[in-house]
Symmetry: C2
Subunit: 447 residues, 2 copies
């Protein structure tokens, strides 16, 4: 939304110019209104609630962040909250309920109409990150023995309350899911045809327990508009639509980015300094442990360093390069795992290819570093040492950059979780060890 | 697809059991067939093409990777290729054409029917990563003066060739885009009503030149099913559907991951060792330069190190911690930029908050490191030095982790591009400088 528009809106509220206010609000998207309200005072929120329709309240509530949802509900009475919920889609109601204090949540659930309450309670039972947690129960499911004209009547009736109408789910007489029908085919078929004759029986389904990332991967791979969630009896529990999948992908991928850096899960965007420090410090402490491990490796060779002090400056070249090369491999691996292209069991042999890449890279970069160092220090032996250490450490970088995320995934951790810290621990410790170890072997030619 | 199924399919081809082959293929998704064909011999591809319908060929061609597309086109004659293209959606035709050798591409374009050729040539003119490059010209646009029953007739007729039918685009008499209509409303309205009465005039549009990442961000923020691409006269050129947006988001975000690691743009998943080394080596060479810069900083203090050799092992703690802390900030910043939450002009002041976070983190981790080092080396002064250096270097890590991606973006580079390498250059050089500089100041108390 343009800043100009925000100012106009604010001033229309402040000057009680309701005509102008309504004109402005009419053309705004609910998400923009939510953004606007979330950074303005309660006074403005109250005015907004007073002069706009419950229909709009519901749309804004769906888009509001946790804080704004609580503020909105605070200023509405119970009956209106219940009414709002009845206009929102079930999965959004469940999301909103999840943000409320537990007492308030229970009171509201008790007020919800009985038929809706069952499905809301059911949805609340699933883990937030599972197929069940992100599915909606607003879909169209029709018996395959209906005729096209009967089907169209049902679609006209149920359509307005559903998230998708292009895809109609088809059930048999046992209420089991047997396929889907495309609304295009329904519209263009003869009115007496049976739905069963245009049912596409190739259908992908998921169980409610499936992780949302896996679901997102399926929908994206098969270009689906929606995917069906069924129980073990093949009864349709809900559907997950492609726009919910986008949210999952954005959330999961940004979590991957954060986790790579060693910050767990989700992150508020408006936290305090202490909030952020709290989220980051655990991994930094682990990192401190690994840093001391690397320092300890150097301590083992203090004797050598005191004889050839030039080693102190050169050793960080080996570890620094190893860390960055390993992070390259790491980012490729994490990406391939996220795209469903890599799996420890099937593809562990690829580590040999990665090692080849590491050795080749090490040889190229190491020979350059060796030549520069030879001229700088005036000793070809130190050039040879960095050449060999670089090859060794780049191979290590490849192995850890490739295996750490795969192994984390194998044990059901997130493949990105802190992998960068484990990786640099390995390239630091072994990089120092290779370089200083070789130096102590070749010490007679160095001093 | 299950491995069992792949084996069954392969054996049905090898044993020329066409009945079984057709039975198996009927239940498979085009993407799975494409995956299967891409790892099998030309012989199997030829058999597949021989015993399946052009309709299926088109679907598989849409899903095939570049290599398989070329192989498929090699085994089909011109007329069939043209026929396939006529069954594919325009944006997929354009993608496929983009993968063909330029001579072959021109020949095929010349064979395409004149009306389709124009729109294909137009689409080929847009940059691959722009709104124009990912839009499709298969949409439903109707004049607002049509009645519902006339509209439904048109939808029945055009529907099967379009990517979205839930959303109908509404034009005025000048063929300008004025809004959208929801198919739900069309289905439930009286047949004599005019489309204009159910047109929603709040509509977001983009120009064909807009970067695909920006488009994806809009569609995801506003939960759109499709977004309209218009020219400066507000004429509708095409639409971008939500499933194409998913591809964009997956592609852009995985590119961010790769770029952070210092690997440009896209990456084949089946390249040779040399291919990968080639893609990674440029950034490693830049990294080599920065590593020598860091090493040079250490060289400045060789004198101090030769007097207190314990400094050599401890200095890497400061730089290692700085690098990882900076990468935490970096990943948060790159994510926020991608989500459209951060902008250099508006939010540069947030760097002060980041610095506060860095100083606080440095103080916590630094005091721990200081205490450990004091007991290890037996000198409180070295503990104080690492404490101060850690605070300084964590502040640097925060500044660079926050500013580097924002500045890269400001100059129209990708915010993730190699930022990790610039960042670790800063934390290495300044980390060594802080630690060894303080050590040389306090030297009398260290020896």
């Amino acid at each position: 939304m343009l800043d100009r528009m925000k100012h106009a809106l604010k001033s229309s509220i402040e000057t009680s110019d309701h005509e102008r206010f309504n004109l402005l609000i009419k053309d705004m998207y609910p998400i923009d209104i939510a953004d606007f309200l979330s950074v303005h005072s309660d006074q403005i929120l109250i005015t907004f609630l007073k002069y706009t329709s419950p229909d709009l309240h519901a749309k804004v509530l769906e888009q509001a962040n946790e804080k704004l949802q609580l503020r909105m509900i605070k200023f509405l009475d119970y009956s209106e909250v219940i009414h709002l919920f009845s206009q929102m889609s079930n999965d959004d109601v469940v999301d909103t309920l999840g943000h409320l204090p537990i007492g308030l949540r229970k009171n509201i659930i008790n007020e919800i109409k009985e038929d809706e309450r069952t499905s809301v309670e059911q949805l609340l039972g699933y883990s937030k990150d599972s197929a069940g947690g992100i599915m909606t129960t607003e879909f169209i499911a029709l018996n395959r023995n209906l005729t096209i004209s009967e089907a169209l009547d049902k679609i006209r009736e149920i359509g307005p309350d559903t998230e998708v109408i292009e895809l109609i789910f088809i059930l048999n007489n046992n209420h089991e899911l047997v396929g889907t029908a495309d609304l295009r085919d329904i519209l263009s078929s003869d009115t007496n045809t049976l739905l069963s004759s245009i049912t596409n029986e190739t259908i992908l389904t998921v169980y409610p327990e499936m992780d949302q990332e896996k679901v997102a991967w399926l929908v994206s791979k098969y270009d689906l508009k929606a995917i069906a969630v069924v129980n073990s009896d093949n009864k349709l529990l809900g559907i997950i639509t492609v726009d919910d999948i986008i949210d999952v992908i954005v959330q999961e991928q940004s979590e991957d980015l954060l986790r790579l850096g060693g910050i767990g899960g989700q992150l508020k965007s408006d936290g305090t300094v202490f909030y952020y420090v709290q989220r980051r410090i655990p991994w930094l402490l682990i990192n401190l442990g690994t840093a001391f491990l690397a320092a300890f490796t150097v301590t083992l060779f203090e004797d050598v360093i005191s004889q050839v002090v030039a080693l102190a400056s050169s050793m960080s070249i080996v570890t620094g390069m190893g860390g960055n090369a390993g992070n390259q491999t790491l980012s490729v691996t994490v990406r391939s795992i996220a795209l469903g292209e890599l799996d420890l069991k099937k593809h562990w042999k690829k580590v040999f290819k990665e090692v080849m890449i590491g050795i080749l890279q090490g040889a190229i970069v190491g020979s350059l570093a060796g030549i520069i160092l030879h001229f700088k220090v005036g000793n070809p032996m130190i050039g040879l040492i960095i050449f060999l250490a670089m090859i060794g450490n780049m191979a290590v970088a490849s192995i850890f950059g490739f295996m750490v995320p795969l192994i984390l995934k194998r044990f059901n951790f997130d493949p990105a979780l802190g992998s960068s810290i484990f990786l640099t621990a390995a390239t630091d410790v072994l990089g120092f060890f290779f370089f200083l170890g070789l130096a102590s072997l070749f010490l007679p030619w160095l001093v």
